[in-house]
Amino acid sequence: MPRTAPHKIELKKQYLYSILSVLLVTAICYGLTPYLGYRVVALILLVTVSLIAISFDIWPVLLSAALSAFIWDFFFIPPHFTIHVNSTEDAILLIMYFIIALVNAVLTYKIRQVEKLARLREEKAKAIKLYNTFLNSLSHELKTPIAAIIGATDNLQAGNESLSEENKEQLVEEIAKASFRLNQQVENLLNMSRIESGFLKPRQDWCDISETIHEVVRRIEENNPAQPVSIQLHPDLPLCRLDKVMLETVLYNLLINAVRYSGPQSAIAVIAACYADTLELTIEDNGPGFPTEEINYVFRKFYRGTDNTTSGTGLGLSIVKGFTEAMGGTVELSSPTGGGARFTLRFPGAASPVKLH
């Protein structure tokens, strides 16, 4: 399994480091033999094994325990360079040494196992909580438009005489809006599963960035006429090699977020510029922005701002990140303390050397 591979390499290194540190300490002690009694050496070796036990797995620790016991016996207990032990006292000391080193290793290992278990449990509980929040908001996001569609059709079908022509038009309009919203939500879910599946393959082709931006902004403004979006394009933007559909989704999600979260009367802008072969797109608003401590979390799946009162599923920005990275780009959020949010997308190597104009 690919997951255990890095662990194995590390384990090999652990064996190596354990052996090396025991040998190193042995060498130092051996050099100091004239000044140190051999019993003190046992304690020094024991400390070494204990230090190894703090950060290494159980097997390297056991190895270093056994190795150091052998070394102590062979090099330090008289007669030297034999495993033979002369006095009973020394024999007892050797056995005690070995037992203490073993107990040390096992206890440290057990403590770490317990810690690991507790950490895993905590992570699992967090994941479950996040997932439940997601399910709640998803059912809200899906059921609200469905409720609107069912309600509106019920009204239209009931043939109520007090329903004016204007009312009927309004109801049809509600159905259209709800269907659009539902479609958007389903689109997000499908995009998320595409990203999750790991088979996301962008179909990179030459795109006219200006055209794409204008298309997306038109879609946003049609549904949110109260919030105009200003477009600032560098005069000679080259063609860029990107997946047009993905880029549209990325821009749409960022803009719809700006519209939803920055509040009415906010200024929203899309800025496109090109530096050498890097395309840079910036979407900014002057809404409340993001708290500094949340900036690192906003692109995570299901993550939703802590002080937010608008409904949503927490998928939009994780799709932005997933798609941008699939196209070889990066996304960055900056939010100064005074308010406002700025998302910067960079696509290195996407811009063609040929200018459009």
Partner: protein, 228 residues
């Protein structure tokens, strides 16, 4: 004619617009509020005849709004929510909601629940006879007739039926029924309730497997509907 006033508290603009048209064209005066704060202010300024309350509000939980309203507001409150979890429903009913509907709901159902809630509230002072010729419950004489034939009920059966009938149209939770009929020590003994509801249905329903009077609200409780 005096139109009954309904206050809609829902954060979704689309739901407000839809409920506005639905209720107005069905003869109600409608006011809408998008937040808990706005809703509480409007309810206090012009107490409506009924409140439609969404549980998922941005500024405050719907349950808290319900509690604040119930400190002084006695007219019916119906919960509209996408949360279909039984615990939330039971909590809302315990907090004083008269009824609940989960979204999406059928318009006919919503209108029926509104009519029933307003009617029950207006007749609460005690019409002694509930029902019609098919099923008649006389609360003064403590008798029950089906198709004009007297039905023999045990004391517990009668108390249960009378309690449900007095709260016509309203969901009564398992806990509430157990406490009211058997006492506070019995609130976890839901098997009692199931046995007695089954017995009652055998005696008063045409087809006990497809009840028309005592309806089950899965995981929550029972509701009496006056079909006579």
């Amino acid at each position: 004619m005096n139109k009954p006033g309904i206050l809609v508290i829902d954060d979704e603009a689309q739901m407000r617009r839809l409920l506005d048209i639905t209720l107005q064209t069905n003869g109600y005066l409608v006011t809408c509020a998008a937040t808990a704060k706005e809703g509480l202010i409007q309810a206090a300024n012009h107490p409506p005849d009924l409140v439609l309350l969404d549980l998922g509000l941005p500024d405050k939980s719907g349950q808290d709004v319900l509690k604040s309203l119930r400190q002084w507001y006695t007219n019916p409150i119906i919960i509209l929510s996408v949360q279909h979890d039984e615990e939330a429903i039971i909590t809302a009913l315990d907090n004083g909601a008269n009824d609940y509907l989960s979204k999406p709901f059928r318009t006919g159902e919503l209108l029926a629940r509104i009519r029933s809630a307003i009617r029950t509230f207006n007749t609460e002072e005690g019409e002694p006879i509930i029902g019609g010729p098919d099923l008649e419950i006389d609360l003064t004489a403590r008798t029950v007739k089906r198709n004009n034939e007297p039905v023999k009920l045990t004391l517990t059966e009668y108390s249960l039926l009378a309690l449900l009938a007095r709260n016509e149209g309203k969901v009564l939770t398992h806990q509430y029924l157990l406490r009211a009929i058997w006492g506070p020590g019995f609130i976890s003994q839901s098997q009692y309730l199931r046995v007695f509801i089954a017995q009652l249905r055998k005696k008063i329903e045409k087809d006990p497997n497809r009840p028309e009077y005592i309806l089950t609200e899965s995981g929550v409780g029972y509701r009496f509907i006056n079909n006579s």
